[in-house]
């Protein structure tokens, strides 16, 4: 039987992964709001520098989860997590007893809210390492990477999770299972916590310039993430900082997602990356002065942006 998937938040990330699952033979529907008219008439155009170009025509295109017809095996939430969005509300009308909820979203401790809201549904938590942009309504440009890591929350890797992993793998991207996906989130946070906010606060510098001149600060921030993760019961590998530093040296100059959001005037993921990390630190009584400083500065930058947008000249 064809696997039924509903993608909620079908933008640069969601439409790309939805298109891959359709390629692998799944029945893929999308909840799509801003580009609804274009996608309804033409579908998506996927331009991947890695996998080529193709059109993606979802089986259903709806503007809200409640309009979805059928019982999805997987509801995959791919929207950015920002304080103004209630994620449970976004998906609740599309859930049935056997529906697995899949999060392909950035951030720390982003699962419990949905696990509590839907205790009867399997929750699969996922991390995407991808560089993908929406270049026009319904047009997605996939520039690089694409690797997914999936695992059940709070731990494990069920048969149904493995089925989804296989579908992604068939479509041509790397997808791996992880028994401790929460540790996976902390590992990603080791990179995200310094580079995302610093790229914004440093006035748009690429990651390489930041690392070349301020490596001690980067290491200090990464060390704080490791201490918080360990206090939360997720000790990270001893060499995780060196690995991240070396990998970043080897990366081409790169604009972080937070910097792209900042430049576009979009809401940034300050709360799920820094805010949730700090709330975990406070709960576990770990001192994290560098991350606290970055978080405060990001809140000030957000305030400054709001002020300048609201200003009448």
């Amino acid at each position: 039987m064809q696997t039924k998937v509903l993608i909620v938040g079908a933008g640069a990330i969601g439409a790309f992964y939805g298109a891959l699952l359709a390629k692998a033979g799944a029945n893929v529907a999308v909840v799509c709001r801003s580009d609804y008219e274009v996608v309804k008439s033409q579908g998506y155009q996927i331009n991947s520098d890695v996998l080529g170009q193709w059109g993606f025509h979802p089986e259903q295109i709806v503007t809200r989860a409640k309009e979805y017809q059928g019982q999805a095996d997987y509801v995959i939430l791919c929207s950015k997590i920002t304080p103004d969005v209630n994620r449970a509300e976004l998906i609740k009308d599309a859930l049935h007893a056997g529906t697995s909820i899949v999060l392909i979203q950035n951030g720390i401790e982003v699962e419990q809210e949905l696990a509590s809201a839907f205790p009867g549904n399997e929750l699969i938590s996922g991390l995407a390492f991808i560089c993908s942009n929406r270049t026009a309504p319904g047009v997605i440009h996939h520039l690089a990477y694409g690797k997914l890591t999936l695992g059940n929350f709070p731990h494990g890797c069920s048969e149904k999770t493995r089925h989804l992993i296989n579908l992604f793998a068939q479509s041509g991207i790397e997808c791996i299972g992880m028994d401790d996906i929460v540790t996976g989130r902390w590992i990603k946070c080791v990179w995200n916590a310094p580079f995302n906010p610093l790229s914004v606060l440093a006035g748009g510098l690429p990651t390489k310039a930041i690392l070349d001149t301020q490596e001690p600060l980067i290491r200090g921030i990464m060390q704080e993430v490791c201490q918080i993760a360990a206090a939360c019961g997720h000790p990270l590998p001893d060499d995780i900082i060196d690995i991240n530093i070396n990998n970043t040296h080897a990366m081409p100059p790169y604009k972080t997602s937070m910097l792209l959001d900042f430049e576009r005037g979009n809401v940034m993921e300050t709360e799920v990356i820094l805010g949730n990390t700090l709330r975990a630190a406070e709960r576990e009584s770990v001192d994290a002065p560098r991350i606290k400083t970055l978080y405060a500065l990001m809140k000030l930058i957000e305030l400054s942006n709001q002020n300048s947008r609201g200003m009448t000249m």
Copy 2:
């Protein structure tokens, strides 16, 4: 006998204080570079919102200290301290045996360099609390404040320092002597260390908005300054943080000097305010993670500015 004063760095601050000393009867000369032609022909126009308007015609207007004729009782250095300026070079040709060197300059531990260069000259260290701008060549707009605090380095308040204090007091501004001016610098740093960099890093927010939303961070930074000052042998009063917080709440929305420099594309006083504070912390083995983070971010902002200036489109 008329007191002879040479002002070195006769911009918004130096020209204003020089004009005040001339008002009080001193023989005041200036070393003036960028506005030399205008000042040579017309003198300075001082427009003070506090003390009224008047013309200030220095007795000598020179472009370098060596052109100064006579033996100054006081050589007053009012330039900003930035890494590209050698202060000893700026003043050395105007010094005689009896010349007192006066620093009216921002920052921490700014005296030793000159004390070492000129061990035979009395060194008077001064702090200005002033809001003054150069609005056109030779035109100085004094908006508010103006209070000076003077004291000998490393401590004491000599008769000659008292004489200078009296001259300033006669001219209409508040000028007080301080036996421990180094402690005075640390006290000023309690305010400068958070608000100067944060105003730049927060995208131009005024001090009040920063304080209203991020008071815990401000207090954390101030606490680090207090710890460093104490380790350096200059314990600050217990209520210094509360006083600074309360005073800042009471201030009108205010743009810091670092923010003004940033907006104008000028070199900022990052090194003398944050850099010297951190070097003192390292010397005394005091941990100051918040200030370290701010310093690193300011270096990144400076790098980002250089990059964007050097960029050809």
